[in-house]
Amino acid sequence: MKLNKIRFQLAVLLVLCMSHVVAFAQSDPSGESAVTSTYALTNATVVTAPGSQLTNATVVVKNGLIMGVGSNVSIPADAQVIDASGLYVYAAFIDGMSNTGAERPDNPERPRDLFTPDPPNDYAGITPERSVVDQLSIESSAIAQMREAGFGISNAAPYGRMLPGSTSLIILKDADHVDELVLEKDNALYAQWVGAPGAYPGNILGMMAKWRNLYTNAVNDKSHADMFAENPSGLPRPTNDRVSMAFYPVLTKDKSVMFDVDGMLEVRRAMRLQRDLGFKLIVAGVEQSWTLIDELKSTNTPIFLSLDLPKEPKNAKEGDDISEEVEALEARRMEFYNLHVGQAAELEKAGIKFGFSAKGIRGGDLKKNLTTMIEHGLSEDAALAALTTNAADILGISQIAGTVQTGKVANLMVTSAPYFTKDSQVRYMFVDGEKYEYEKKEAKKGGNSSADASGDALAGTWNYSFESPQGVSEGTFVFSKIDGGYTGVMTFNDGQPDSDLRDVSFRNGELSFNLEFDAGGQSIVLNVTGAVTGSTFDGTITVDQFDFSTPISATKDGK
């Protein structure tokens, strides 16, 4: 691009800005705005929908929409022409459920007298009247990360406990204001099995009962409100209970309940409530679906499978000296790993049109996990459908998204090779017609992608030790650097299962994260904070539920 040409176009733009305020509502002193919002991708291979492909085709993007797809498409005069020879154009992916764009609000302060059947709703986590829109931040790094992974739309879910509020469809672009992100506000009522720490409802027992109670009262309140609206004379005034009212569109089936349920039993419990109460249900984030296929089919329950997969078990190597018993146990563990990674293929075989939820995965894992599913029997077309058309259908946006078709929102992913091939890279993303370009990444040398080798101050293995009421507890934290952030796992020397670390934050030597483990139906959250100095960590573990805290120290494995 010649500098002079840019200058000229900028000058034109400035003039345009003055007359077309609508098109460029935001002034841009930084000069970073695109010179045009019309693009033509030429000579591209266009996968218009799963299983349907055009070669040497042109895709025209204008005013945020796809304005033409095909080989005989005229290119508008103001278009920036991108030669897409050798590139592949897909509809950008749609994520069925994640916390993308939302920032976790501070936990509500623990009220003093909690041992009551009816603690305050905000502490109990019963806030269905809220919206994720109030938690969205344009600065959330997850938006750009999801976009770079190929997504154009996320169904953003709010943080919270059993009924945090409503999800909203957001468009994954750089915005100046949160409202620009919102494609559809409050499209589903979001629910999960997360009890209030130390208060009612504390676990699944109380939450199931609370659901029934809330729902029945909402039914009664609505019939009261309807009667009152028709003729208020002689009727007591309805109380306008916000929680009840949040259920009204659910009662009339104008709005679905999206249950974030990973395990098989959690899904069944959501389906049981659905059966008893009769609302429209979507299950999302599902990690164990293989025994649910008949029920999903007979009830026609839409499902978003989790994109998260378990790590492949490390069995003993050939020649290792292991007992027959251990060999048999390893084989059984592998059997269940295969069920996990093969379940998408099973759903496909059963004719279930599932989508995917990106909650809990990092962008970099997307392709890796999809590849694993494909290696275990999922067809590429079904994988693509799950990421595009099926998700659009379930979320009710197939008229505007999910395929590369004239008239739809210009959400496109452009890759360097067919997406599912090993070395394909995302080169461009178009979201809401806005272009994002990604540099070609050179193949990594050395093969090992774990951050250990990079000399990062945190990444690597740390041996911790702390004093629990039962004595000294020891194990490791394993941190990895991924996409500018960190993930981690806590292991326990006493044989407790590993726990994933959440919300790992490491800035200026200050480290904090938390983890949750299940103590027989009651979830316990450990918060860890402290400082890293060289290869030592000194910090504190706190458990809010029990007003418990204890020092913890760790040292980094010197390799």
Partner: protein
């Protein structure tokens, strides 16, 4: 008209039950030439038991094997009704909603975990049914679930004991008052427990009055009172639709509850643990109350010191319907031994001792028309033993639920787990797990207690 309507309702109900549980497997089998311990009709030597479609259709000698029916040779073996555990905490994803003192609205049927391997281990002890109970953290805990151990399904619905009456857990004494004292709220003493019960039932009566008035109101423009599932359940208790099973130890608190129930007109009560029940056995018998006790387990806290291994025998001799339970994922595997202890401590007859873990718990749970003894027409829930089940040499060999064999010692896979976390470590697999521990106060414990190994 009315009868017609009733008939339709019945039909509809029948159809519903028919579809809801149509899938649970039913078996056909002929168990030949065993020593059949019927419990209700004495011991029958060299006798056959024929099972068709999950039911016992014939008990007698020399029954011909119908075509297609599997034959099992029980020569020299003992055939008894499947054992029923009236107090269990296996197969539950959660045990206590311990965050409030009255949680009648919660129900264990919502949290059944069919993948708990403890179910298989119980089957290996001849157990075919359990009463999955809510814990004892609160005065009025949650509703319990009576289950058949149809192990292998991942669907909790498949394990429900269809048609079993609803029951609920109450708790007296140290467990609920411990929580109250720790938090500075009622109840902090046994007096507070009683008041909490009386207040709750009085509230339920008020609640019922409101709804009765609403239902009697003929106006089309009426506004429903607030719905409260907790109160609904308490009303169901008052109306006899939900049977109370009360965690209790001391005689004075047992007697207290009898008085409270008399005052509120509740006549169905099963005392759980009830270590001092022997002191008020005649009073229990006069009330018609029943007891489900341990054979010889006590002294794990102050209120459980004044105990005796003669408890079950004394209660039985006084005409109190008594069962022996496990309350444990370990004891459940040898309840037949627990029952046998009453022959050492109390000289109970074989039938009386066996009834403690079969017919009597079936009666307490309201399922004795279906299980608890070997009779024609009853469900084929059967255990086959090598050696008499009341002998120390007894070995459970096979266990059937609805005529389907769920345990066979001769064909016992080493790994019976239904689900294995692919990210688990192999080293973790141990014979001992948390289900072996007492889960009565789980979810209602302090941090320190959560990490302690003694949970009872």
């Amino acid at each position: 008209m009315r009868t017609m309507k009733k008939l339709y309702t019945l039909l509809a109900l029948f159809c519903f039950i028919g579809t809801a549980w149509a899938q649970t497997p039913k078996g056909d089998v002929l168990i030949k030439n065993g020593t059949v311990l019927t419990v209700t009709n004495g011991t029958l030597e060299n006798t056959d038991v024929l099972v068709r479609d999950g039911k016992i259709t014939k008990i007698g000698k020399g029954i011909r094997t119908p075509r297609g029916v599997q034959e099992i040779d029980a020569t020299g073996k003992f055939v008894m009704p499947g054992i029923i555990d009236a107090h269990s905490h296996i197969a539950g994803s959660a045990i206590n909603e311990g965050t409030s003192q009255v949680t009648a609205e919660v129900s264990m049927e919502d949290v059944v975990d069919p993948m708990d391997v403890s179910i298989y281990r119980a089957l290996a002890g001849g157990v075919t049914s359990i009463h999955l109970m809510h814990g004892s953290a609160n005065v009025i805990g949650g509703q319990n679930e009576t289950m058949k151990l149809r192990y292998g399904s991942t669907n909790p619905d498949d394990l429900r004991f269809e048609g079993a009456p609803r029951t609920i857990k109450f708790a007296l004494g140290e467990n609920p008052t411990r929580g109250g004292r720790a938090r500075g709220i009622q109840p902090q003493s046994r007096m507070g427990v009683e008041m909490m019960l009386r207040n709750s039932f009085t509230q339920a009566q008020e609640y019922k009055k409101k709804w009765d008035a609403y239902n009697a109101n003929k106006s089309a423009r009426k506004v429903a009172p607030e719905y409260d599932l907790r109160m609904e359940t308490l009303v169901d208790i008052l109306e006899g639709e939900v049977w109370v099973n009360c965690h209790s130890y001391r005689a004075d608190e047992i007697y207290m509850l009898l008085k409270v129930f008399s005052d509120f007109g509740i006549d169905r009560i099963n005392f759980q643990h009830a270590n001092e029940a022997y002191k008020v056995a005649p009073e229990l018998a006069a009330f018609g109350a029943t007891a489900s006790v341990f054979a010889d387990w006590w002294a794990y806290k102050l209120e459980v010191y004044y105990s005796t291994a003669y408890n079950a025998a004394i209660l039985t001799e006084n005409g109190v319907l008594t069962s022996i339970n496990s309350d444990s994922g370990e004891l459940i595997r040898h309840l037949f031994h627990e029952a046998a202890k009453t022959q050492k401590y109390g000289d109970l007859s074989d039938d009386e001792a066996l009834a403690l873990v079969t017919l009597n718990p079936a009666k307490q749970l309201g399922v004795d028309n279906r299980v608890g003894s070997l009779e024609e027409g009853k469900d084929a829930d059967i255990a086959i033993f090598e050696g008499h089940p009341l002998s120390v040499y007894a070995i459970p060999m096979m266990t059937f639920v609805d005529g389907v064999k769920y345990f066979d010692r001769e064909n016992d896979k080493a790994d019976q787990r239904i689900y294995i976390n692919p990210e688990s470590n192999i080293e973790e697999v141990t014979i001992f797990d948390r289900h072996d521990m007492h889960r009565c106060m789980e979810g209602a414990l302090s941090f320190e207690e959560l990490f302690s190994t003694s949970k009872r």
